[in-house]
Symmetry: C2
Subunit: 340 residues, 2 copies
């Protein structure tokens, strides 16, 4: 049963568990620092399909099936799947789950989708709306690049603040179980827009949303940021991560060296030439569903705040002179059911 | 508190109420048969903005504010807003609620979004995840036409099976209250794809999803289709509506002349030259938030099944030779809290 705490946070009193999780990534991600954590590294950027969009759908379906396998349940056990992605009309998800025969709720949260889908999936299980749910998302470098920026063949120059869209997918299966990782609280974010209009500086556009949601969570719960082994943002990259920390400092919240960013964890920034870091729905999804949830299972992480951020603009809205609205949702993951 | 009935349906035992609803539409919709039901008919297709996309965002914000007014609550009372639309990266919603300072969950369900958002909004209230929620969506003829088909200036020919995208938005506010309309059950749909690839025949692509979800609801609850004053599909249009009825007949479910379709209700098909009828997220949204909920309030409708349908393709997926996956979600609306 859920309990609302403060204005923004929902405590999930039955503490739903992540009973299965899986990550599927591309070659470049498989050459990065998290290589050993991923369930599957696919060398072929087409995943055996004819187009990159079809490849992304297949990758999302693969992550879902692997997560089911690891949870040791059949797909019929899933009451509802929450999924979304970055592509126009979310075709990564729509086609990825076309044959699944499972009730489907489509989401659009841009790169915040892993947190949004997981929050909804956990909320449904906690409240008895569903017994078992799935949350899944993806991104693909080649589909995102040609949709949001330039044809790949063009070889456009990238400024230092630019990020590299991750080819990856992550899926979590949520239910009630004796073992964790447990989901203790969720905080849905509001849309922030501080007037950034540079599509090559998404980290700066998203940092205020991440700070805002974290401040709301800390205010609602009275939690001490030092109580968490890791406060991990979605894909702010280096530029956005620095801004995030300084925005918190302005509000007198000091993070004791426990802040990490999925966009900086997934690549070796210098060796892999990714400028400010990784991005895309698949960035926070594949990092969550590998090193983070894996760390909680192995005991190296006990208390984690996962804050995935999304930039809600489109190429057209930017062409029309609009700034970039952004959003961040938060999940408190814990190795324990109760207490800190 | 929710109770799961059968495989697909959730009974909302606390029967949340629609405490406010509002519809905003364009000039053409304001000249149709439902003219007197709409809260606001805007003659200017730009809604005072510089682009049609900004107009769509404004329209969605207007519907939300009108619904709040009619519910007689302030926006601070809203715990979570569920919103989405048809535009790439759902910019109608992202920009429409940018300044609202309300937690936001973005959805993509194409033209099923009104049912998807309302189902989630009602589920959150029933289960105590939220006290008060909002569900809102929109579409705009000019934004959809140039994104999905041709530039308006091109003046492309339209076959008889084509539908006309509605310029409209609908918003519902959900909470617990003594008076209805009440939301009794919800059924989330699965993605169907029977191989239709003609983007000018979306009704045919979506009809199987609508039939599938209705059959699941009837199977789960044991309800008799004759017990409803109206079984209303989202925007199948004339071609899709006929297919829907015949698909049900094949499964031995006969509808006793209580089937209506929002796409056929909103326009006078012949006088307004809209071929197979209206379509777009705003079609079922503006019809629900005018004649349907209005009819329940006035007592002319007592039991209604609202089944909004969505086609989950994109222009790119169709160019890549893909067929059109579709989905439908169902809401049982009632003037009474219990019994039939």
């Amino acid at each position: 049963m859920p309990t609302r705490i403060g204005r923004y946070t929902i405590r999930l009193d039955s503490t739903p568990s992540v009973i299965g999780f899986a990550s599927v990534v591309g070659k470049k991600e498989g050459e990065g620092p998290l290589a050993d954590w991923f369930d599957l590294v696919e060398e072929d950027s087409l995943f055996g399909e004819k187009t990159w969009e079809k490849a992304e759908s297949r990758m999302q379906a693969m992550a879902f099936h692997l997560a089911l396998q690891k949870a040791n349940i059949s797909r019929d056990a899933i009451d509802l799947i929450f999924a979304g992605d970055l592509l126009n009309q979310c075709i990564g998800s729509g086609y990825g789950h076309r044959g699944s025969q499972i009730p489907f709720a489509g989401l659009f949260g841009a790169c915040s989708t892993m947190a949004e889908s997981l929050a909804l999936a956990a909320a449904f299980v906690d409240s008895g709306l569903a017994a078992t749910t799935a949350a899944v998302t993806s991104s693909h470098f080649c589909t995102a690049e040609r949709q949001f920026r330039y044809p790949l063949e063009y070889g456009g120059q990238r400024p230092p603040s630019a990020q590299w869209t991750v080819t990856g997918s992550g899926c979590t299966i949520i239910s009630h179980a004796e073992a964790g990782p447990f989901i203790r609280e969720i905080t849905f974010g509001m849309i922030n827009d501080l007037g950034i209009s540079d599509i090559n500086n998404m980290g700066a556009a998203m940092a205020p949303a991440a700070a805002d949601t974290l401040l709301n969570y800390l205010h609602d719960t009275g939690a001490n940021p030092a109580a968490f082994d890791m406060i991990v943002t979605g894909d702010l990259g280096q530029v956005g991560a620095e801004l995030f920390v300084s925005l918190l400092k302005k509000e007198n919240v000091l993070l004791p060296d426990n802040h990490r960013d999925c966009g900086m964890m997934i690549f070796d920034q210098l060796a892999q030439d990714v400028h400010s870091g990784g991005s895309g729905c698949g960035c926070s999804a594949s990092v969550l569903c590998s090193a983070i949830l894996g760390g909680v299972v192995k005991g190296s992480l006990k208390e984690v705040l996962f804050i995935a951020t999304g930039a809600l603009m489109s190429p057209l809205s930017v062409q029309q002179g609009e700034t970039i609205p952004s959003i961040a949702h938060l999940i408190h993951l814990s190795s324990k059911r109760e207490g800190q």
